[in-house]
């Protein structure tokens, strides 16, 4: 099995560098959400073709772990599925100067409600209350009236429903549960990255785990980053009077109609998502994944790297690379412009 190295990089990597190559050099280290890992692999690889002397390392230690490491000075930037709390932002001033740290969206991901039921081969329509009842374990069979109500001309099997949720704390869970709690009247569990302990259900680790388990289990339903659900069927969610299927555009629209989080750095771009949106065509179960940068870095090299990498990620090129490699939804031009501006505020400490 030994022999020549077989990495594409080793075979010569002249193809990728069509954008102007950057001058920056050195190593930028970051850590955080594991959901970004696939995209990050593509970005770090793509970035080397833009900035051949630069390297980006990313440890998928989880969003919390990433913020922890970032605040502890271990990472230059963090990837996170959830925005920093105000306390965290306060403590970020210790390493990031008086303006502290700020978020830029790195991608927006619709969270799909996906299922695997023999006999249902198309998209299912549901409203927030029904989804909440299913996930709360109150609806236990696929031919339940509440489901049938929304899908009048569909033949529903009587397969029992197996709810599959994330076993680990996760941003996906947090956003999904947040949606259930705000958009439905049925869900009254605490909103956090942890699945409510009171509900007995199947679970698995990470997005790949829930998707895998759902694919193996007849009657299973789960929620997962839409880019990773494979061939599972999904639910179109009732928004206002229509049923909206997930799509990058629908997700972007939901973000666009949300307000920004107040009270942190002036260039902060974290969002308070509006789950109850009635806007036509918006898909409300979205997750915004952020990159968190310092407003002020101690060294020029790091600052340059951070800006260059941040810009690359947001660039059309970067977003396209991630979409191709990891299936992420690219961000809208509007968001990009705002984010680019935020990045330009990065300075070096005196």
């Amino acid at each position: 099995a030994c022999g020549e190295s077989n990495t594409p990089a080793a075979e010569g990597n002249a193809d990728g560098g069509d954008s102007a190559s950057s001058e920056v050099a050195g190593t930028l280290v970051g850590g955080g959400a594991s959901s970004q890992e696939a995209a990050m692999t593509a970005w770090t690889d793509g970035f080397t073709s833009v900035a051949p002397d630069a390297q980006v390392n990313y440890a998928s230690v989880g969003s919390g772990g990433g913020r922890d490491g970032f605040l502890g000075g271990e990472y230059d930037f963090a990837g996170s599925d959830a925005a920093m709390s105000d306390d965290e932002w306060e403590s970020s001033k210790e390493i990031c100067g008086t303006e502290g740290a700020f978020h830029v969206p790195s991608y927006i991901s619709p969270v799909a409600v996906a299922f695997n039921v023999e006999g249902i081969d198309e998209t299912l329509n549901l409203d927030a209350d029904t989804i909440a009842s299913i996930f709360a374990g109150e609806i236990t069979s696929w031919d339940d009236e509440a489901i049938a109500e929304h899908n009048e001309d569909m033949e529903l099997p009587s397969t029992p429903i197996s709810v599959v949720h994330r076993a680990d704390d996760s941003g996906t869970t947090e956003n999904f549960v947040d949606y259930l709690a705000t958009a439905s009247d049925v869900w009254d569990y605490e909103v956090s990255g942890e699945w409510p302990g009171e509900i007995a259900a199947e679970s698995a680790q990470q997005t790949s785990g829930v998707v895998g388990l759902t694919s193996e289990t007849d009657g299973a339903i789960t929620y997962a980053d839409a880019s990773q659900i494979g061939d599972l069927n999904t639910v179109a969610v009732q928004v206002g009077e229509e049923y909206v299927e997930y799509s990058p555009e629908a997700a972007s629209q939901a973000v666009a109609s949300s307000s920004a989080v107040e009270g942190q750095a002036s260039n902060n771009m974290a969002f308070e998502l509006d789950r109850r949106t009635e806007e036509s065509g918006a898909y409300p179960i979205v997750l915004v994944s952020y990159h968190i940068f310092c407003n002020e870095y101690p060294e020029q090299e790091t600052a340059d790297l951070a800006v260059a990498f941040g810009e690359y990620v947001l660039s059309e090129d970067g977003q396209a690379t991630a979409e191709a490699a990891a299936g992420n939804a690219p961000i809208s031009d509007e968001l990009r412009d705002g984010a680019m501006e935020s990045l330009s505020a990065i300075t070096v400490a005196e």
């Binding site: 989880g62 919390g64 772990g65 704390d169 996760s170 007995a200 259900a201 698995a204």
Partner: protein, 311 residues
Amino acid sequence: MSSSLTQSDKRGVAGDRVFSALTVSAGVIILLTLIFVVLFLAANSRDAVYQEEQGGWIVGAFFDYAYPLVIGTLIASLIALVLAAPVAVGVALYISHFAPPRWSKSIGYVIDLLAAIPSVVYGAWGMSFLGPELIPVYNWLHENLGFIPFFAGDPSQTGRTIFTAGIVLGVMILPIITSVCREIFIQTPKLHEEAALALGATRWEMIKMSVFPFARAGIISGIMLGLGRALGETMAVALVLSPGMLTASLISNGNSTIPAEIALGFPEAPPGSERQAQLIAIGLVLFVITLLVNMTARWIVSRHKEFSGAN
């Protein structure tokens, strides 16, 4: 020949001093490291039991959070131990006293292979192979022995239960126990084995008479090491288990263990939050459990100290 007793060779004495100092300092290093680990845990878990906003001490809340995990951990480890310990001792005996001498080394080696398999792989094996295989077993247990609370709940349709986790843990700790026991069994003095045989003991009686008493402390140590591994195993359990709330049933989903909870929750726990503190605090609780278990084991061993096999 030196002429005086007190004017002994300086280098020799120094050698002894240095060596014993080295051993003591190794011990002290361990001691200090551990004290630091404990301090680290204690310092970082304060927020789990004390919150200004919630009116000071919240031990009760923490207890409510921790006890299902403690019980889950104990159940999984107990299953692992009950399954693995007898088999492991049996395998160790097989290697030391039953297998053809020419083969015994290689057989021991094969069993050691089990220890070489990384826990991630055990986890993957447990969730993708063992769990599904066990679904019919769980269904059967539920149908036929459902009156026992352990088999009462709805059997899991994915096989990801605490029982599966216990089995995987059992497989993981088996080589640990086997390896420790085997080495001690082999050391049983021939003299004592022969003494038993000459009294007309069968092989099993000889083992009961001379091997087991000789290896008592070692067997217990091996079991404790295995138990420690079972109590502290993170990845395999996190992968195999479908964690959830505590249930009496071993064959439905639910239940969790402390290390799995930490592994699953820690990556996303916000820095400096109560959640983070909580996760570290249950780590500390696990320490206490391990300690209690080990103290019991030590106590059992120490009661027979003067009957040591080394004499």
